[in-house]
């Protein structure tokens, strides 16, 4: 063993830096792949319907929204047929809700791993989110069927669709980092997340369009990053109206703030996860 050419590591009692250790992430990149792969592989084990569940959930809620809001209340739906409007919103929302819920519980759920092995802890909430992306892809395929059924020809902006998924990933990661780290010390988080997601659902234009929100409240409303993301996502399907530039810019900004503070809090607490978990 040549001691001169091996890596040197220094562990100090306090580490004030909060930058991410990218070199270490690269070193462990295969672990991120395996953790994601495990989450995907295990999710639909011993279910009869399997990955069909990924579509069933947004589909069922979109159906309920269509019946009650579309048919009964006659909710406006901008320039999309209400079923397409509701399902498109639900596809993105379902991804966000699942990614956030799974990542919030991920650190505590992987308690044994975290208290017995060292690896970049951030991979745990991150892999939970990446695993949720598979469900999103499956339900997007069904969205394509919706568009065909309602004779909506995709136009050029549809290629931008993934760019509206990215801020949703960043938002769920930011919030997931906060909640998963808080969950280690405060198990209240588990119960709060369900409540939070319901509240967040009503604050996001899934069942109703942003155009029905009073103009003077729009700015406040758009502080919720999911507003700009969902509106932008829907815009790519039928880009007839104006692009929701203001709310989308605001969404990117709030999502970034959420992510940066989430990374910071996670970095500050991850060293002692094993002591509290």
């Amino acid at each position: 063993m040549q001691p001169t050419d091996v890596a040197k590591l220094t562990i100090r009692a306090t580490d004030k830096s909060w930058s991410l250790n990218w070199g270490e992430f690269w070193q462990h990149r295969e672990l991120l792949y395996f953790l994601t792969w495990r989450d995907i592989k295990v999710r639909y084990k011993q279910t009869v319907l399997g990955v069909v569940w990924a579509v069933m959930q947004p589909l069922a809620i979109a159906l309920a929204l269509t019946v009650f809001f579309g048919r009964v209340v006659h909710m406006p739906s901008d320039n999309l047929p209400y079923p397409v409007f509701a399902y498109a919103g639900m596809v993105l929302w379902q991804f966000f809700a699942q990614a956030l819920t799974e990542s919030s519980n991920s650190v505590v759920a992987n308690e044994r791993l975290i208290s017995k092995v060292y690896f970049p802890r951030i991979f745990v909430p991150l892999s939970a989110i990446l695993a949720s992306l598979l469900d999103l892809v499956v339900s997007l395929l069904v969205l394509a069927l919706f568009l065909a059924w309602f004779h909506i020809a995709p136009s050029a902006p549809i290629v931008l669709l993934p760019f509206f998924v990215l801020p949703a990933v960043l938002t769920s990661l930011g919030a997931g980092l906060w909640l998963s780290a808080l969950n280690v010390k405060f198990r209240d988080v588990r119960y709060t997340v369900n409540f939070l997601m319901q509240f967040w659902f009503f604050a996001t234009p899934i069942a109703y369009p942003t155009s029905s929100v009073p103009v003077r409240l729009r700015l406040l409303f758009s502080l919720n990053p999911m507003v700009g993301i969902v509106d932008g996502f829907r815009w790519t399907l039928r880009p007839e109206g104006a692009f929701p530039a203001q709310s989308f810019t605001l969404a990117v900004f709030t999502a970034t703030v959420l992510l940066m503070t989430g990374v910071y809090y996670f970095r500050r607490t991850e060293d002692t996860f094993a002591d509290f978990i």
């Binding site: 009692a13 295969e30 092995v117």
Partner: protein
């Protein structure tokens, strides 16, 4: 300057004054927001209370490690021994970066592989093959390395037939064998090992020990935490003994283990904890007291091979629905499990302080130093794991003259020295002299 840099280069691990501080009582139970709020609300009252000369609750602050400095040259195999709670596991957790020290600094040269628990990250729904790759990645092996060693791992685990079966269908023995097989093929320069050898049946343990010996012979640096003195003696070149978070013995392995057995271990014929909140355990069971009590004698009398003694455990039972089973393992100084005994039936009494005890009859134990590990099985009680207290009690049994010995005064070998009834009788006597000789011829 030159000499110091030279010696630095030869070091694999250098710890300088590391300490780890825990707030006991907060650590085992997770906090809820309510706790934090009530703590904050209580803080001013606590200040008032301490002003009134009531002792503050300082017993909640514990240093699991304190001011520990350690240097390990490359290629050294170091055994770490010490009683339960002496800080051994905390040291490994800090070195493997699972948790950060409260004070001090550590320098490590070389890639670190830690085997604090084998099979960490195994998922019961995945097949053996899938788990080998997953577990390998968790331990820090690349897929290429696992691919290369795959056949070796499978062969070592002796689970080849079950490779494509979900691991939930594995027996516990197979589970552990596969887990160790993956871990054993970790090829980092530095290896941190915590008692993983205490797995599997005797044959597999021997195989694991052999693998550890290989690691040592390949010039790798190994830290080995163990309760098995024989393993430490045979594997390690050097050993340290921890007590209350500090190094109390340091030197060649055989001398450290023998001094540990003589001077540090026998001091614990009785342990007790007065505060139900800080006592070891979990939210179902906490330990109040454990002791060895000679029967029909003063408690201070030394135990001899002729003394019957009781082993008593007193625990607070905090959950009324839990069904408890107590299992005591008795080990001798060589790490041999002399016997194991378990409470019969489930203990279903309601909450409160309870005592579980058994009696070891006179003329059963051989002389020597023994230690008792207690396992409290909660029989799958939700929300808590079974409890295992290693080296909970340690005691010495002295030799005295007894009828068993007869005229022999030398070393009496064997793990036990039972007073068994020997009967010697004549089955058939020879006829009167002369005639007998004729019969035989």
């Amino acid at each position: 300057m030159q000499t110091s840099s030279e010696s630095d280069n030869g070091l694999a691990i250098r710890c300088e004054g590391i300490g780890k501080h825990y707030r006991i009582g907060l650590r085992p139970r997770y906090r809820t927001l309510r706790d934090t709020i009530s703590d904050m609300a209580r803080a001013p009252f606590r200040m008032l209370a301490s002003r009134g000369n009531t002792p503050a609750r300082v017993d909640r602050d514990v240093w699991a490690l304190r001011d520990l400095s350690l240097e390990m040259p490359h290629g050294e195999v170091l055994g770490i021994i010490g009683r339960n709670g002496s800080g051994k596991s905390t040291l490994l957790k800090i070195l493997s970066r699972i948790t950060r020290p409260t004070e001090g600094q550590i320098e490590i040269r070389g890639r670190v592989g830690s085997l604090i628990e084998v099979g960490a990250g195994f998922h019961p729904e995945l097949t053996g093959r899938e788990n080998i790759f997953l577990n390998g990645a968790i331990l820090g092996m690349t897929r290429r390395v696992v691919d290369q060693k795959f056949d070796e791992i499978v062969e070592f685990s002796e689970c080849g037939r079950m490779l494509d079966t979900a691991m939930k269908h594995y027996s516990s023995g197979m589970y552990v064998r596969l887990a160790f097989a993956v871990a054993a093929h970790l090829d980092t320069e530095i290896l941190l090992v915590d008692e993983v050898l205490a797995v599997g049946d005797a044959g597999f343990q021997k195989k694991c020990l052999g693998k550890m010996g290989d690691a040592a012979n390949q010039g790798r640096t190994v830290l080995f935490v163990s309760h098995n003195m024989l393993a430490v003696d045979s594997l390690c070149t050097r050993a340290i003994c921890l007590h209350e978070g500090r190094v109390v013995l340091d030197g060649p392995a055989p001398s450290v283990t023998s001094r540990y057995l003589q001077t540090w271990l026998p001091a614990f014929k009785e342990v007790h904890y007065d505060n139900v909140e800080t006592a070891p355990g979990n939210n179902v069971v906490r330990l109040h007291r454990a002791r060895i009590r000679p029967l029909n004698r003063a408690p201070t009398d030394q135990l001899t091979v002729r003394t019957a003694f009781a082993v008593e455990f007193e625990c607070w039972k905090l959950a009324s629905r839990a069904r408890l089973t107590f299992v005591a393992d008795v080990y001798n100084e060589h790490g041999v499990n002399v016997f194991t005994t378990a409470s019969k039936g489930d203990c279903t009494v309601s909450v409160g302080l309870l005592r579980a005890s058994f009696i070891v009859p006179a003329d059963l134990m051989n002389d020597g130093t023994f230690r008792i590990c207690l396992l409290v099985s909660l029989n799958g009680h939700a929300g808590a794991e079974d409890i295992e207290w290693n080296d909970l009690l340690a005691f010495e049994i002295h030799d005295v003259a007894s009828e068993i010995r007869g005229d022999y005064h030398g070393h009496w070998s064997g793990a036990l020295r039972p007073n068994l009834e020997w009967r010697t009788e004549l089955i058939e006597s020879f006829p009167a002299s002369g005639a007998g000789a004729q019969v035989l011829l």
